[in-house]
Amino acid sequence: MQLKVEKLTHIYSEGLPFESLAMTDVSFTMEQGEFAALIGHTGSGKSTLIQHINGLLKPTSGHVYLDGVDVNEKSPEARALRRRIGLVFQYPEYQLFEETVLKDVCFGPKNLGLSEEEAEEVSREALALVGITGEKLERSPFNLSGGEKRRVAIAGVLAMDPELLILDEPTAGLDPRGHAEILDAVRRIREKKNMSIIMVSHNMDDVASLADRVLVLEDGRLIMDGSPREIFARGEELRAIGLEIPSAKDFMEKLAKMPALKEKGLEIDDGAITIDEAQEEILKLFGSKA
């Protein structure tokens, strides 16, 4: 589905002494199947923005449209569209509550009105997609590892078969293994389902390797919007607002500045943002020398 955010402005606690402007005049459009990464410093409004997309927060002014329908309309149409959005919050494992993993994942589909059997079927499928199978389905969700709990929570949202999946820092606070498993799950979801995905992330390596569009928020404003290559080429600006660039890109930039390379008259393109791209560039260098 198409997501269109138009001049979105949000003020928390309007009219009280603690009033604060969280979102100012944010506009962008996202088409079906796009994978956008949302980056920004802590407190830049990322969580505020994504909560507007399924109507959990109401804009102070501006609109959010899904396939041309305002999500905040009271019509059954808007209600149905809101249900097409799958929102996975930060630390989603804290929302688990059922006795078994399978039952917990069934909670969403059952709320959508699916029968017990149908719910179990879609739940098993969703769990397989995030790599949870076999006897783990009958375990208590509280007895799983941190990474597994989180994947179960993601499956809980996936089982509702959303058209737009929103992941709010899905890898925060996980060990490297848990981190890799979550990314694998995201990749599988991307391949198997034709879902649009918005991922909030602080890890620029993940952003570079997964996303095909990057939105940069700063102080409640959308200040950059483009392909990862375009955005990460503006490293100085990103650093100025407390963000980083992918480690591969950082490495290539440093490499390109090496005096030894200049002395030998070698030139290297520092545009690579992933390790694969960097490798290709470096191999080219060897090739030109040989």
Binding site: Y94, Q95, F97, G108, N111
Partner: protein, 269 residues
Amino acid sequence: MAIKDITLGQYYPAESPVHRLDPRTKIVGTVVYMVSLFCVNSFSAFALSILLLGTVIAVSKVPLRFIAKGLKPVLILIILTMLINLFLTPGELLLSLGPLKVTEEGIYRAAFMALRLVLLIFGSSMLTLTTKPIQLTDGMEALMKPFEKIGLPAHELAMMMTIALRFIPTLMDETDKIMKAQTARGADFESGNFKEKAKALVPLLVPLFVSAFRIAGDLAMAMEARCYRGGEGRTRMNPMRYSGRDGAAALILALYLAVIIFSRTLGLF
């Protein structure tokens, strides 16, 4: 779902002499003021009470509408008390509506009661509006200290209150987060009959309890790691000190109390 908008402890941040008063002065002052309200039995004495509280409110810079919000939950109680007093006080008959009789004494008592309740609520709200919850518990601990000799665990009680107050916003945030997450999974907390509503709370309460225990465990660990072992010999980061301001406040209060008591016993007003 505006859980964040609920104010608890309802501290109103401002820079004023009332805010800067020592919490002990404010707690004792509030208690004295409340007691004085029950001694008052004439309109002129009430005028004095209103004048005192009005001055405190004006000096504190807390907007009146903020204080008036505290009246809302007890409005029904006030109206009920007024009605009961109005109709059921024996005395000189003024008006009778079937079984209901309005007497002169009834009108007085109804007015006194309503005034007293409103002043009680305003007075106690002023304490919580101008004192941070943590200062409040510090003040209470200091005031309860003398009773430690007879076995009252003053420090522990105050610490419990401090922790409870400190974690109310945290648990509110947590509730808000879990509620949103479950709403995103299609949970419905609003519609349905009582039984359905109670059942709908399970996906909220289970994670909330899990969180609460986790937070409690973490806090206990952090306190142990810093060698917390109760109040014995403990010093404070911000020791409470009486200042000239507190002396002035105590003096005003003592004067006020004296006038009220004299006027009652001597029937001055």
